[in-house]
Symmetry: C2
Subunit: 217 residues, 2 copies
């Protein structure tokens, strides 16, 4: 059987994308948790360009960038497809995945006011465009790659609100987003493999690292 | 026959990606050149999120984001495939396409010294990693999607060097990049549909717009 290794970090929302994709497909893998302040020589060897997690190593061959990894996983293990089969639907999904990716990249540790503004703008686009017509999840009743791409919203919003002591995603302003977050978090595979947000909050409150440190991809 | 419309701009390297892909596939289309300082209501309707070119409209349905459009085109018209057929090779191609995309996005109108530094770093990665083992082009002897993603290097480097009055891509420092640029520009479809870089230089020299204005995607 093929050897599959995943380099991730408890702090990386990009890493969780891959964890969830593999769990949803039911693919066993070996997990290596990287300390992002002291990266292993193997990680640097596998991802010399970005030096970041996640890296998936399949039969000794590394794949970097979470969205590239997700597409690879979906092709190699087509059970529970994460991208729609129809080319146009797939293009729409890839558009939103790119949108989420860009937002996640930019949702960086700027000063507080700018970060909150960036989040609000993104939540507005989700509420008014991305989630229009979406039933329970982006893929209908089943999770798909767009849900996974937007998962950082479900992970970080609570952490951010906790740290800042304010409510960013007010349910009456963002009913669709609030409902999507609840639906996403209640999927068994997600719930059972959710990052420890209390640990994240504590970590961030102690100021040891800025949120989204080093923009791991 | 399906109606195909492309909204582009003479100034948009993202738009040229789509033009070239369609020309390489031999797909006829109607081209609408947008004035990015005075965008048409139709463009804003088709791309309400980013309000940018390119937008490809296929049978009335819009597709936005150049890399998403390229993947869609490759699926709908599979002649002259732009992505490798092998899943791992395709993942590697998608990694470099994302790299090029991120660099193009960030090669923005910062102050001159920072912009040159950013370009040099990118050229070094191309020289030392991306082009290792590449024969004539990324896809071997034939153009593929990675060449198209990196095409902004071939378009802009000369314009930038002309404006700044300095040589950024010195051939003895970047022999692989220099050779790739020559090979890329000598492909008939590219040569016959290359943007008017003199017009770009003049436009920029007159300071009417910053390079990469409004980050059109």
């Amino acid at each position: 059987m093929a050897v599959l290794k995943l380099f991730g970090s408890f702090f990386s929302p990009y890493g969780y994308r891959v964890i969830w994709a593999l769990k949803l497909k039911g693919i066993p893998y070996e997990y290596i948790d990287e300390d992002l302040r002291n990266k292993s020589p193997l990680l640097l060897q596998y991802n010399p360009i970005h030096k970041q997690v996640p890296v998936l190593v399949h039969d000794g061959k590394p794949i970097c960038e979470s969205t590239v990894i997700l597409q690879y996983i979906d092709e190699i293990w087509p059970q529970n497809l994460l991208l729609p089969a129809d080319p146009y639907d797939r293009a729409v999904a890839l558009f939103w995945i790119k949108f989420a990716d860009d937002k996640l990249y930019r949702a960086n540790g700027e000063e507080q006011q700018a970060a909150v503004k960036e989040w609000l703008e993104m939540l507005e686009v989700m509420e008014e465009h991305a989630l229009i017509g979406v039933k329970k999840l982006f893929g209908g009743d089943e999770i798909n790659m767009v849900d996974i791409a937007f998962s950082f919203v479900a992970i970080w919003l609570g952490v951010l609100e906790d740290i800042l002591g304010l409510e960013i995603c007010e349910p009456h302003k963002f009913p669709r987003v609030s409902s999507w977050i609840q639906n996403f978090k209640s999927i068994p595979v997600i719930k059972d493999n959710f990052p420890d947000t209390d640990k994240m909050s504590t970590f961030l409150k102690h100021g040891r690292e800025m949120m989204l440190t080093s923009k791991s991809n």
